[in-house]
Symmetry: C2
Subunit: 223 residues, 2 copies
Amino acid sequence: MFLLTPFLVAVVCILMLWIFKNADGGTERRNGEPRAEARPWVDEDLMGSTDVHQEEAGTAPSGAHTEPWTFVVVKDPDVKHKIREIIEEEEEINYLKRMGPRWVTDLKKFRTNWIKEYLDTAPVLILIFKQVHGFAANGKKKIHYYNEISVSIACGILLAALQNAGLVTVTTTPLNCGPRLRVLLNRPTNEKLLMLLPVGYPSEDATVPNLTRKTLDQIMVTV
Amino acid sequence: MFLLTPFLVAVVCILMLWIFKNADGGTERRNGEPRAEARPWVDEDLMGSTDVHQEEAGTAPSGAHTEPWTFVVVKDPDVKHKIREIIEEEEEINYLKRMGPRWVTDLKKFRTNWIKEYLDTAPVLILIFKQVHGFAANGKKKIHYYNEISVSIACGILLAALQNAGLVTVTTTPLNCGPRLRVLLNRPTNEKLLMLLPVGYPSEDATVPNLTRKTLDQIMVTV
Protein backbone atom coordinates (compact mmCIF):
# COMPACT_ATOMS: atom_id res chain seq x y z
CA MET A 1 0.00 0.00 0.00
CA PHE A 2 2.85 2.44 0.76
CA LEU A 3 4.14 2.28 -2.84
CA LEU A 4 0.74 3.43 -4.08
CA THR A 5 0.84 6.76 -2.31
CA PRO A 6 3.07 8.80 -4.69
CA PHE A 7 1.35 7.14 -7.65
CA LEU A 8 -2.01 8.06 -6.18
CA VAL A 9 -0.93 11.66 -5.68
CA ALA A 10 0.16 11.83 -9.31
CA VAL A 11 -3.06 10.27 -10.55
CA VAL A 12 -5.17 12.59 -8.39
CA CYS A 13 -3.36 15.64 -9.78
CA ILE A 14 -3.85 14.50 -13.36
CA LEU A 15 -7.49 13.66 -12.82
CA MET A 16 -8.24 16.88 -10.97
CA LEU A 17 -6.84 18.71 -14.00
CA TRP A 18 -9.03 16.56 -16.22
CA ILE A 19 -12.07 17.19 -14.11
CA PHE A 20 -11.84 20.96 -14.11
CA LYS A 21 -11.28 21.06 -17.83
CA ASN A 22 -14.24 18.92 -18.61
CA ALA A 23 -16.74 20.18 -16.05
CA ASP A 24 -18.17 22.64 -18.53
CA GLY A 25 -15.02 23.46 -20.39
CA GLY A 26 -14.55 24.92 -23.81
CA THR A 27 -17.98 26.32 -24.44
CA GLU A 28 -18.27 28.88 -27.17
CA ARG A 29 -21.02 31.24 -28.00
CA ARG A 30 -22.78 30.80 -31.31
CA ASN A 31 -25.74 32.92 -32.17
CA GLY A 32 -25.68 34.21 -28.59
CA GLU A 33 -26.04 30.72 -27.05
CA PRO A 34 -23.30 28.75 -25.27
CA ARG A 35 -22.33 25.49 -26.98
CA ALA A 36 -21.01 22.50 -25.04
CA GLU A 37 -17.96 20.58 -26.22
CA ALA A 38 -17.72 16.85 -26.93
CA ARG A 39 -18.81 14.64 -24.08
CA PRO A 40 -15.98 13.72 -21.73
CA TRP A 41 -17.45 10.37 -20.71
CA VAL A 42 -16.83 7.06 -22.42
CA ASP A 43 -19.77 5.37 -24.12
CA GLU A 44 -20.12 2.51 -21.72
CA ASP A 45 -21.85 1.75 -18.49
CA LEU A 46 -19.84 1.93 -15.36
CA MET A 47 -18.13 -1.40 -14.90
CA GLY A 48 -19.43 -2.66 -11.60
CA SER A 49 -21.24 -0.28 -9.31
CA THR A 50 -20.59 2.84 -7.28
CA ASP A 51 -22.39 1.34 -4.27
CA VAL A 52 -19.20 0.31 -2.52
CA HIS A 53 -17.92 3.88 -2.75
CA GLN A 54 -20.97 5.23 -0.97
CA GLU A 55 -20.36 2.55 1.63
CA GLU A 56 -16.83 3.86 2.08
CA ALA A 57 -18.10 7.42 2.33
CA GLY A 58 -20.47 6.18 5.03
CA THR A 59 -17.49 5.21 7.18
CA ALA A 60 -16.72 8.90 7.71
CA PRO A 61 -16.72 10.40 11.20
CA SER A 62 -19.64 12.66 12.04
CA GLY A 63 -20.74 14.95 14.84
CA ALA A 64 -21.90 12.75 17.73
CA HIS A 65 -21.86 9.86 15.25
CA THR A 66 -25.15 11.00 13.74
CA GLU A 67 -24.18 9.90 10.17
CA PRO A 68 -26.26 12.75 8.65
CA TRP A 69 -25.90 11.83 5.00
CA THR A 70 -28.02 10.52 2.14
CA PHE A 71 -26.45 9.54 -1.17
CA VAL A 72 -28.91 9.55 -4.06
CA VAL A 73 -27.49 7.67 -7.02
CA VAL A 74 -29.28 8.55 -10.27
CA LYS A 75 -28.88 6.33 -13.32
CA ASP A 76 -32.32 6.74 -14.95
CA PRO A 77 -31.85 8.86 -18.11
CA ASP A 78 -35.23 10.59 -17.75
CA VAL A 79 -34.54 11.62 -14.18
CA LYS A 80 -31.05 12.77 -15.13
CA HIS A 81 -32.61 14.90 -17.83
CA LYS A 82 -35.11 16.45 -15.42
CA ILE A 83 -32.20 17.21 -13.10
CA ARG A 84 -30.43 18.87 -15.99
CA GLU A 85 -33.45 21.00 -16.88
CA ILE A 86 -33.82 22.24 -13.31
CA ILE A 87 -30.13 23.00 -12.89
CA GLU A 88 -29.66 24.75 -16.22
CA GLU A 89 -32.71 26.93 -15.57
CA GLU A 90 -31.50 27.99 -12.12
CA GLU A 91 -27.86 28.32 -13.16
CA GLU A 92 -28.76 30.66 -16.00
CA ILE A 93 -30.36 32.99 -13.46
CA ASN A 94 -27.33 32.48 -11.20
CA TYR A 95 -24.87 33.51 -13.88
CA LEU A 96 -26.93 36.36 -15.30
CA LYS A 97 -28.23 37.79 -12.03
CA ARG A 98 -27.80 36.14 -8.62
CA MET A 99 -24.04 35.51 -8.47
CA GLY A 100 -23.09 39.04 -9.42
CA PRO A 101 -20.18 40.22 -11.56
CA ARG A 102 -17.42 39.40 -9.08
CA TRP A 103 -18.30 35.74 -8.73
CA VAL A 104 -18.82 35.37 -12.46
CA THR A 105 -15.40 36.91 -13.04
CA ASP A 106 -13.78 34.59 -10.50
CA LEU A 107 -15.16 31.61 -12.41
CA LYS A 108 -14.15 32.80 -15.88
CA LYS A 109 -10.92 30.79 -15.94
CA PHE A 110 -12.94 27.55 -15.64
CA ARG A 111 -15.06 28.54 -18.66
CA THR A 112 -18.20 27.29 -16.96
CA ASN A 113 -21.71 28.52 -17.63
CA TRP A 114 -25.23 27.23 -17.21
CA ILE A 115 -24.97 24.55 -19.90
CA LYS A 116 -24.41 21.28 -18.04
CA GLU A 117 -24.38 18.59 -20.68
CA TYR A 118 -22.65 16.19 -18.29
CA LEU A 119 -25.93 15.87 -16.39
CA ASP A 120 -27.26 13.89 -19.34
CA THR A 121 -24.09 12.20 -20.50
CA ALA A 122 -22.42 11.04 -17.27
CA PRO A 123 -23.50 7.45 -16.56
CA VAL A 124 -24.25 8.20 -12.90
CA LEU A 125 -25.10 11.31 -10.90
CA ILE A 126 -24.55 11.15 -7.15
CA LEU A 127 -26.53 13.79 -5.27
CA ILE A 128 -25.35 14.14 -1.70
CA PHE A 129 -27.83 15.46 0.83
CA LYS A 130 -27.06 16.62 4.35
CA GLN A 131 -29.66 15.86 7.01
CA VAL A 132 -29.85 19.13 8.91
CA HIS A 133 -31.53 17.26 11.73
CA GLY A 134 -32.72 13.71 12.28
CA PHE A 135 -35.41 11.89 14.18
CA ALA A 136 -35.03 9.73 17.25
CA ALA A 137 -36.86 6.41 17.64
CA ASN A 138 -39.66 8.21 19.48
CA GLY A 139 -40.12 10.64 16.60
CA LYS A 140 -38.55 13.62 18.36
CA LYS A 141 -36.09 15.84 16.54
CA LYS A 142 -32.47 14.77 16.83
CA ILE A 143 -29.72 17.36 16.57
CA HIS A 144 -27.16 16.70 13.86
CA TYR A 145 -24.09 18.48 15.15
CA TYR A 146 -21.69 19.75 12.50
CA ASN A 147 -23.82 18.12 9.79
CA GLU A 148 -22.38 20.12 6.91
CA ILE A 149 -18.78 19.50 7.94
CA SER A 150 -19.53 15.80 8.51
CA VAL A 151 -21.15 15.29 5.10
CA SER A 152 -18.33 17.23 3.41
CA ILE A 153 -15.77 14.95 5.07
CA ALA A 154 -17.75 11.97 3.77
CA CYS A 155 -17.61 13.55 0.30
CA GLY A 156 -13.84 13.80 0.55
CA ILE A 157 -13.66 10.09 1.37
CA LEU A 158 -16.06 9.38 -1.51
CA LEU A 159 -13.85 11.35 -3.91
CA ALA A 160 -10.81 9.35 -2.79
CA ALA A 161 -12.74 6.09 -3.24
CA LEU A 162 -13.93 7.03 -6.73
CA GLN A 163 -10.41 8.09 -7.61
CA ASN A 164 -9.07 4.79 -6.32
CA ALA A 165 -11.48 2.94 -8.59
CA GLY A 166 -10.28 4.78 -11.68
CA LEU A 167 -13.44 6.86 -11.94
CA VAL A 168 -13.57 10.62 -12.39
CA THR A 169 -15.94 13.33 -11.33
CA VAL A 170 -16.31 17.05 -10.74
CA THR A 171 -17.46 18.53 -7.43
CA THR A 172 -20.45 20.76 -8.13
CA THR A 173 -22.66 22.77 -5.79
CA PRO A 174 -25.71 23.72 -7.89
CA LEU A 175 -26.69 27.05 -6.38
CA ASN A 176 -30.41 27.55 -5.62
CA CYS A 177 -31.30 24.16 -7.13
CA GLY A 178 -31.64 22.30 -3.86
CA PRO A 179 -35.36 22.63 -3.11
CA ARG A 180 -36.51 21.63 -6.61
CA LEU A 181 -34.11 18.68 -6.73
CA ARG A 182 -35.17 17.57 -3.27
CA VAL A 183 -38.80 17.48 -4.41
CA LEU A 184 -37.93 15.73 -7.70
CA LEU A 185 -36.06 13.00 -5.85
CA ASN A 186 -38.71 12.69 -3.10
CA ARG A 187 -36.33 13.51 -0.29
CA PRO A 188 -37.77 14.70 3.03
CA THR A 189 -37.69 18.30 4.19
CA ASN A 190 -34.85 17.74 6.67
CA GLU A 191 -32.51 16.94 3.77
CA LYS A 192 -30.71 19.71 1.88
CA LEU A 193 -28.64 19.20 -1.24
CA LEU A 194 -24.95 19.73 -0.54
CA MET A 195 -23.19 18.48 -3.65
CA LEU A 196 -23.70 16.80 -6.99
CA LEU A 197 -21.07 14.51 -8.48
CA PRO A 198 -21.38 13.26 -12.07
CA VAL A 199 -19.36 10.05 -12.21
CA GLY A 200 -17.89 7.96 -15.01
CA TYR A 201 -14.74 6.88 -16.82
CA PRO A 202 -12.88 9.59 -18.72
CA SER A 203 -12.94 9.55 -22.51
CA GLU A 204 -9.61 9.46 -24.30
CA ASP A 205 -9.89 12.98 -25.67
CA ALA A 206 -10.94 14.51 -22.36
CA THR A 207 -9.16 17.73 -21.45
CA VAL A 208 -8.98 19.82 -18.28
CA PRO A 209 -8.17 23.42 -17.35
CA ASN A 210 -4.47 24.01 -16.92
CA LEU A 211 -4.71 24.85 -13.23
CA THR A 212 -1.75 24.97 -10.89
CA ARG A 213 -1.78 24.07 -7.24
CA LYS A 214 -0.11 25.58 -4.20
CA THR A 215 3.10 23.86 -3.14
CA LEU A 216 3.29 21.92 0.11
CA ASP A 217 5.12 24.71 1.90
CA GLN A 218 2.31 27.09 0.96
CA ILE A 219 -0.34 24.93 2.62
CA MET A 220 1.55 23.34 5.48
CA VAL A 221 3.39 24.68 8.52
CA THR A 222 5.40 22.48 10.88
CA VAL A 223 5.92 23.38 14.53
CA MET B 1 -5.60 -1.19 -6.48
CA PHE B 2 -9.10 -2.70 -6.92
CA LEU B 3 -8.39 -5.58 -4.54
CA LEU B 4 -7.60 -3.06 -1.82
CA THR B 5 -11.08 -1.58 -1.75
CA PRO B 6 -12.99 -4.17 0.36
CA PHE B 7 -9.89 -4.56 2.56
CA LEU B 8 -9.76 -0.81 2.98
CA VAL B 9 -13.43 -0.69 3.95
CA ALA B 10 -12.86 -3.36 6.59
CA VAL B 11 -9.77 -1.62 7.95
CA VAL B 12 -11.56 1.74 8.04
CA CYS B 13 -14.45 0.23 10.00
CA ILE B 14 -12.11 -1.39 12.52
CA LEU B 15 -10.04 1.74 12.91
CA MET B 16 -13.04 4.05 13.23
CA LEU B 17 -14.19 1.81 16.07
CA TRP B 18 -10.71 2.05 17.57
CA ILE B 19 -10.64 5.81 17.20
CA PHE B 20 -13.92 6.49 18.94
CA LYS B 21 -13.06 4.20 21.79
CA ASN B 22 -9.72 5.83 22.41
CA ALA B 23 -10.55 9.47 21.81
CA ASP B 24 -11.22 10.06 25.47
CA GLY B 25 -12.63 6.66 26.28
CA GLY B 26 -12.97 4.97 29.60
CA THR B 27 -12.56 7.91 31.91
CA GLU B 28 -13.72 7.38 35.44
CA ARG B 29 -14.33 9.83 38.18
CA ARG B 30 -12.18 9.57 41.28
CA ASN B 31 -12.44 12.16 43.95
CA GLY B 32 -14.68 14.15 41.62
CA GLU B 33 -12.06 14.44 38.83
CA PRO B 34 -12.09 12.56 35.51
CA ARG B 35 -9.20 10.15 35.00
CA ALA B 36 -7.86 9.28 31.58
CA GLU B 37 -7.11 5.69 30.56
CA ALA B 38 -3.81 4.29 29.29
CA ARG B 39 -2.40 6.10 26.27
CA PRO B 40 -3.58 4.65 22.97
CA TRP B 41 -0.45 5.60 21.03
CA VAL B 42 2.64 3.45 20.64
CA ASP B 43 5.84 4.70 22.22
CA GLU B 44 7.62 5.51 19.01
CA ASP B 45 7.92 8.37 16.58
CA LEU B 46 5.91 8.22 13.45
CA MET B 47 7.87 6.26 10.92
CA GLY B 48 8.39 8.65 8.06
CA SER B 49 6.36 11.81 7.92
CA THR B 50 2.80 12.95 7.57
CA ASP B 51 3.83 15.59 4.99
CA VAL B 52 2.77 13.51 2.02
CA HIS B 53 -0.71 13.17 3.50
CA GLN B 54 -1.15 16.93 3.72
CA GLU B 55 -0.01 17.04 0.11
CA GLU B 56 -2.76 14.58 -0.80
CA ALA B 57 -5.29 16.63 1.15
CA GLY B 58 -4.12 19.63 -0.86
CA THR B 59 -5.30 17.94 -4.06
CA ALA B 60 -8.91 18.42 -2.95
CA PRO B 61 -11.32 20.46 -5.04
CA SER B 62 -12.26 23.87 -3.66
CA GLY B 63 -14.66 26.67 -4.47
CA ALA B 64 -13.27 28.53 -7.48
CA HIS B 65 -10.03 26.62 -6.89
CA THR B 66 -9.08 28.93 -4.02
CA GLU B 67 -7.39 26.12 -1.98
CA PRO B 68 -8.41 27.80 1.31
CA TRP B 69 -6.57 25.52 3.72
CA THR B 70 -3.62 25.61 6.09
CA PHE B 71 -2.38 22.44 7.78
CA VAL B 72 -0.37 23.13 10.94
CA VAL B 73 1.59 20.04 11.96
CA VAL B 74 2.67 20.20 15.61
CA LYS B 75 5.38 17.86 16.88
CA ASP B 76 7.03 20.05 19.53
CA PRO B 77 6.09 18.63 22.96
CA ASP B 78 5.97 22.06 24.63
CA VAL B 79 3.61 23.44 22.00
CA LYS B 80 1.49 20.32 22.18
CA HIS B 81 1.24 20.82 25.91
CA LYS B 82 0.19 24.46 25.53
CA ILE B 83 -2.46 23.31 23.06
CA ARG B 84 -3.64 20.81 25.63
CA GLU B 85 -3.85 23.42 28.36
CA ILE B 86 -5.93 25.76 26.21
CA ILE B 87 -8.27 23.03 25.02
CA GLU B 88 -8.84 21.43 28.40
CA GLU B 89 -9.59 24.81 29.94
CA GLU B 90 -12.15 25.71 27.26
CA GLU B 91 -13.63 22.22 27.05
CA GLU B 92 -14.28 22.16 30.79
CA ILE B 93 -16.39 25.28 30.39
CA ASN B 94 -18.01 23.71 27.30
CA TYR B 95 -19.04 20.57 29.17
CA LEU B 96 -20.09 22.30 32.37
CA LYS B 97 -21.83 25.32 30.87
CA ARG B 98 -21.75 26.22 27.16
CA MET B 99 -22.85 22.98 25.49
CA GLY B 100 -25.92 22.54 27.65
CA PRO B 101 -27.46 19.33 28.99
CA ARG B 102 -28.76 18.02 25.68
CA TRP B 103 -25.43 18.08 23.90
CA VAL B 104 -23.65 16.61 26.93
CA THR B 105 -26.22 13.82 27.02
CA ASP B 106 -25.81 13.13 23.29
CA LEU B 107 -22.06 12.68 23.85
CA LYS B 108 -22.36 10.40 26.91
CA LYS B 109 -22.00 7.20 24.90
CA PHE B 110 -18.51 8.28 23.76
CA ARG B 111 -17.45 8.83 27.37
CA THR B 112 -15.63 12.01 26.44
CA ASN B 113 -14.93 14.93 28.74
CA TRP B 114 -12.49 17.81 28.93
CA ILE B 115 -9.46 15.63 29.73
CA LYS B 116 -7.57 15.32 26.45
CA GLU B 117 -4.43 13.35 27.28
CA TYR B 118 -3.94 12.50 23.62
CA LEU B 119 -2.89 16.11 23.00
CA ASP B 120 0.31 15.32 24.88
CA THR B 121 0.76 11.70 23.95
CA ALA B 122 -0.02 11.60 20.23
CA PRO B 123 3.22 12.01 18.26
CA VAL B 124 1.69 14.59 15.92
CA LEU B 125 -1.22 17.00 16.08
CA ILE B 126 -2.56 18.34 12.78
CA LEU B 127 -4.56 21.54 13.20
CA ILE B 128 -6.53 22.35 10.07
CA PHE B 129 -7.42 25.98 9.49
CA LYS B 130 -9.89 27.30 6.94
CA GLN B 131 -9.03 30.61 5.29
CA VAL B 132 -12.34 32.46 5.39
CA HIS B 133 -10.98 34.80 2.76
CA GLY B 134 -7.66 35.23 0.98
CA PHE B 135 -5.60 37.99 -0.54
CA ALA B 136 -4.98 38.66 -4.20
CA ALA B 137 -1.53 39.59 -5.50
CA ASN B 138 -2.46 43.29 -5.21
CA GLY B 139 -3.36 42.83 -1.54
CA LYS B 140 -7.11 43.07 -2.06
CA LYS B 141 -9.43 40.63 -0.29
CA LYS B 142 -10.16 37.47 -2.27
CA ILE B 143 -13.44 35.65 -1.72
CA HIS B 144 -13.08 32.01 -0.70
CA TYR B 145 -16.31 30.48 -1.89
CA TYR B 146 -17.52 27.48 0.07
CA ASN B 147 -14.35 27.56 2.18
CA GLU B 148 -15.67 25.43 5.01
CA ILE B 149 -17.03 22.76 2.68
CA SER B 150 -13.78 22.80 0.68
CA VAL B 151 -11.55 22.38 3.72
CA SER B 152 -13.81 19.66 5.10
CA ILE B 153 -13.53 17.76 1.81
CA ALA B 154 -9.74 18.10 2.08
CA CYS B 155 -9.99 16.67 5.61
CA GLY B 156 -11.89 13.67 4.27
CA ILE B 157 -9.12 13.04 1.76
CA LEU B 158 -6.54 13.50 4.54
CA LEU B 159 -8.34 10.94 6.71
CA ALA B 160 -8.34 8.46 3.82
CA ALA B 161 -4.62 9.10 3.25
CA LEU B 162 -3.75 8.63 6.93
CA GLN B 163 -5.83 5.48 6.98
CA ASN B 164 -4.06 4.20 3.90
CA ALA B 165 -0.71 4.68 5.64
CA GLY B 166 -1.78 2.61 8.63
CA LEU B 167 -2.09 5.64 10.90
CA VAL B 168 -5.05 6.41 13.13
CA THR B 169 -6.67 9.56 14.36
CA VAL B 170 -9.84 11.02 15.82
CA THR B 171 -11.69 13.96 14.23
CA THR B 172 -12.07 16.66 16.86
CA THR B 173 -13.59 20.13 16.67
CA PRO B 174 -12.40 21.90 19.85
CA LEU B 175 -15.28 24.25 20.57
CA ASN B 176 -14.38 27.87 21.43
CA CYS B 177 -10.67 27.08 21.30
CA GLY B 178 -10.02 28.53 17.85
CA PRO B 179 -8.97 32.09 18.65
CA ARG B 180 -6.48 31.14 21.38
CA LEU B 181 -4.98 28.37 19.26
CA ARG B 182 -4.72 30.69 16.27
CA VAL B 183 -2.73 33.15 18.35
CA LEU B 184 -0.55 30.41 19.88
CA LEU B 185 0.34 29.10 16.43
CA ASN B 186 0.82 32.57 14.93
CA ARG B 187 -1.79 32.13 12.28
CA PRO B 188 -3.29 35.25 10.63
CA THR B 189 -6.75 36.56 11.41
CA ASN B 190 -8.29 35.25 8.18
CA GLU B 191 -7.66 31.69 9.38
CA LYS B 192 -10.12 29.91 11.64
CA LEU B 193 -9.55 26.54 13.24
CA LEU B 194 -11.80 23.89 11.70
CA MET B 195 -10.47 20.62 13.05
CA LEU B 196 -7.73 19.02 15.12
CA LEU B 197 -6.43 15.54 14.34
CA PRO B 198 -4.06 13.77 16.74
CA VAL B 199 -2.17 11.24 14.63
CA GLY B 200 -0.12 8.16 15.41
CA TYR B 201 0.06 4.38 15.30
CA PRO B 202 -2.39 2.53 17.52
CA SER B 203 -1.07 0.70 20.58
CA GLU B 204 -1.83 -3.00 20.89
CA ASP B 205 -4.21 -2.61 23.77
CA ALA B 206 -6.14 0.26 22.20
CA THR B 207 -9.92 -0.05 22.43
CA VAL B 208 -12.79 1.85 20.82
CA PRO B 209 -16.48 2.45 21.56
CA ASN B 210 -18.70 -0.32 20.28
CA LEU B 211 -20.53 1.88 17.78
CA THR B 212 -22.68 0.55 14.97
CA ARG B 213 -23.11 2.15 11.57
CA LYS B 214 -26.09 2.56 9.30
CA THR B 215 -26.36 -0.04 6.56
CA LEU B 216 -25.87 0.91 2.92
CA ASP B 217 -29.60 0.89 2.21
CA GLN B 218 -30.09 3.37 5.05
CA ILE B 219 -27.69 5.92 3.54
CA MET B 220 -28.11 5.33 -0.17
CA VAL B 221 -31.02 5.57 -2.58
CA THR B 222 -30.81 4.50 -6.22
CA VAL B 223 -32.99 6.05 -8.93
